[in-house]
Amino acid sequence: MKSQAVNPDLRGKKFRFKSEWAWAWLMVAPVIIGLIVLNIYPFIDSIIMSLYKSQGLGPAKFVGLQNYVKMFSDKQLWQSTWNSFYFVILTVPVGVFIALLLAVLLNSKIKGRDAYRCIYFLPMVVAPAAVAMVWRWIFNAEVGILNQMIGVFGIKGPNWLSDPNLAIVSIAIIAIWSAVGYDLVMILAGLQSISASYYEAAEIDGANAVQRFFHITVPLISPTLFFVILMRTMNSLKQFDTVYLLVKQTNPAFKKSATLMVLFYREAFEKFNKGYASAIVMWSFVIIMIFTVFQFVAEKKLVNYD
């Protein structure tokens, strides 16, 4: 604005400049409106709701921070927070490592490479609910195929989905199985963007396969790897569907496998406690924020964008 004020020659341009801005706003409007209506408004509404006591169909009552006081004194909240963390610990390192390993294998020239790529990606195209139903049968301790197979060796298989210490591990296995294909495709794309000349040069210098992997592959795909780890962590923190479908409230493993999202859902839609549920959502928001900040700090130190 200032520069335009001192230079009258630009007046005509200023006008065009303005209309360009109007066009720009018009173009991004659908996204902005969508964001406001679907994300920002509900977010603010949740903050307000968390200060109210809202049960059933009656009007909500303002209670200040009472929901938060009640929430932080609830043992199950801390248990569920741990469950969510534990789930991230179980799924992210193992899941991403497997995906990386498979991606490197599928990037080499092996027979039937495309078929393998297809097979690994298949779980991604199946609806999560269907995945959960199939695994429920596999893990069924009474008649499931897994325990039948273990039974052949005369060992009684564990209660995969009802042993309090095992249920969350079983669910982590399902989560890794269904996500590995997506991560693999991402990493594969990263691998294929690495120029072959790096490897040729390294080979001439006498680097072996392991050295090549750690000194060329890992640094060059670190942006992809970072993205994959970030997405996987977010998704694991938000884990809901598989736990919800496989561990019901009468399951003895419920307390030790209910993630924060399951706890939220239960309060909001089973106990119809929407105010309290909003407070849980705020708590998960804080946790996800901490994770995100932590990861972006790590990104600056570890990721190589050159």
Partner: protein, 404 residues
């Protein structure tokens, strides 16, 4: 040319709209309920009504129990309830107190043929908000094959808790458990509670602090945890009590009359089981409950909805639901249309038990404490809490919730 085309198109549109308005007003109503087994019965009623009223179209919507109330709550808040829907005693107060139900007082219906208790369930401040649909009681189902193999006499009306436990012990083997005692209320420990002289909720008060209530629940839980005659909680999470009984892995269980159409269409179990009245404790009791047809206060066609609900309550509709194996109809004198369908089964025990039946406990805020009860009792089964602690906790929770 363009103008001509545009005018032509507009004219076409207008003509269609006019012809739609001129035709007799076509009314579409939605009818929501939760039981797939009863879908044929509900469809038959809707079709019979549509045959008499060609301008009305009734669309049935089945939503499984777990999601039904969630969906209904969201619909109630958004003012988009189905025009007609099933109501349950657990949830009635919540919906009626929020003003979401259509007042059915002026339906001109004679309520004498229905069980008085069920009509009263859906009465709020002197007004009727749902028409009784059916009633159900709980009976003892047993696997005849397993009894024969163990050389035991079949259960009958002389049975007590002790006979049940003794028989179950004899029936229990490596592959079979004698009796299923799951974490269930209506087809579970509530029956024991009332047979022991206890109660769950009466006159605005929780009965979980009563020694009779606590003793009954303890006996029920210990059938699994101490006597070992029931499959474990872990086992029930992989296969429900019903599934285990139908698979021949459990020899006896308490089962509601609403399960009969499923049992008799299961090839594996249909010829192997029979029914008896519940064994008695200090006294006889069987939990009964009844559903109702309710209408939405927000419906666009209140008169048509009322007319259809009145039809649902008629003798004709009750016979239709009975003949389709839906449930025991609420209309007195039509029960036999249901019981006659089960020739080789002692199905009559369900209707006999209504004599000493106890209404499935309900309270204004039961929808809020019921999920907590399921969770708390799980802790009593796992031993995280004793049964007394769990009951006392429930007593405090219910007292607190109902006081608000």
């Amino acid at each position: 040319m363009k103008k001509f085309l545009a005018t032509l198109l507009t004219l076409c549109l207008l003509a269609t709209m006019c012809s739609l308005a001129l035709a007799e007003e076509q009314i579409t109503l939605t009818f929501g309920f939760w039981d797939t087994n009863q879908e044929p019965g509900m469809k038959a009623i809707a079709e019979a009504y549509m045959a008499e009223h060609p301008n009305v179209k009734i669309e049935t919507q089945v939503t499984p129990w777990d999601q039904y109330w969630m969906k209904l709550e969201a619909a109630a808040m958004g003012g988009a309830l189905p025009d007609i829907f099933w109501m349950h005693s657990n949830q009635f107060f919540k919906y009626v107190s929020a003003g979401t139900l259509l007042d059915l007082t002026d339906l001109g219906l004679d309520y004498t043929p229905y069980p008085a208790g069920i009509t009263a369930l859906y009465n709020f401040e002197g007004k009727q908000y749902a028409v009784p649909k059916d009633y159900d009681t709980i009976a003892l189902a047993y696997n005849k094959e397993l009894f024969d193999a163990a050389g035991l006499a079949y259960p009958d009306e002389t049975w007590t808790w002790e006979t049940l436990r003794d028989a179950a012990k004899k029936l229990t083997s490596d592959t079979v458990k004698g009796f299923g005692a799951p974490n269930d209320t209506q087809s579970g420990y509530y029956n024991f509670v009332y047979q022991n002289g206890g109660f769950i909720f009466e006159d605005g008060k929780s009965g979980f602090d009563q020694p009779e209530t606590q003793e009954a629940i303890k006996t029920w839980v210990e059938l699994m945890t101490v006597d070992g005659i029931s499959p474990t909680l872990e086992s029930f999470t992989d296969m429900s009590n019903d599934e285990q009984f139908q698979a021949g892995r459990v020899a006896m269980q308490f089962v509601g009359s609403w399960m009969m159409s499923a049992y008799t269409s299961n090839e594996f179990i249909k010829d192997k089981f029979d029914l008896a009245v519940l064994p008695q404790g200090k006294t006889r009791a069987s939990i009964y409950n009844g559903l109702g047809y309710a209408g939405a206060a927000t419906t666009k066609y209140p008169e048509v909805v009322k007319d259809f609900i009145a039809f649902c309550g008629s003798e004709q509709a009750n016979i239709l639901q009975a003949q389709n194996k839906a449930a025991i109809p609420a209309y007195a004198g039509t029960e036999h249309y249901f019981t006659d369908l089960f020739e080789n089964l002692n199905i009559k025990c369900y209707t006999e038990m209504i004599e000493y039946g106890v209404q499935f406990p309900f309270s204004p805020n039961k929808s809020l404490w019921e999920p907590i009860e399921a969770e708390t009792m799980t802790s009593a089964y796992t031993g995280e809490m004793t049964v007394e602690e769990a009951c006392n906790f429930m007593h405090e929770t219910i007292t607190e919730i109902e006081a608000e």
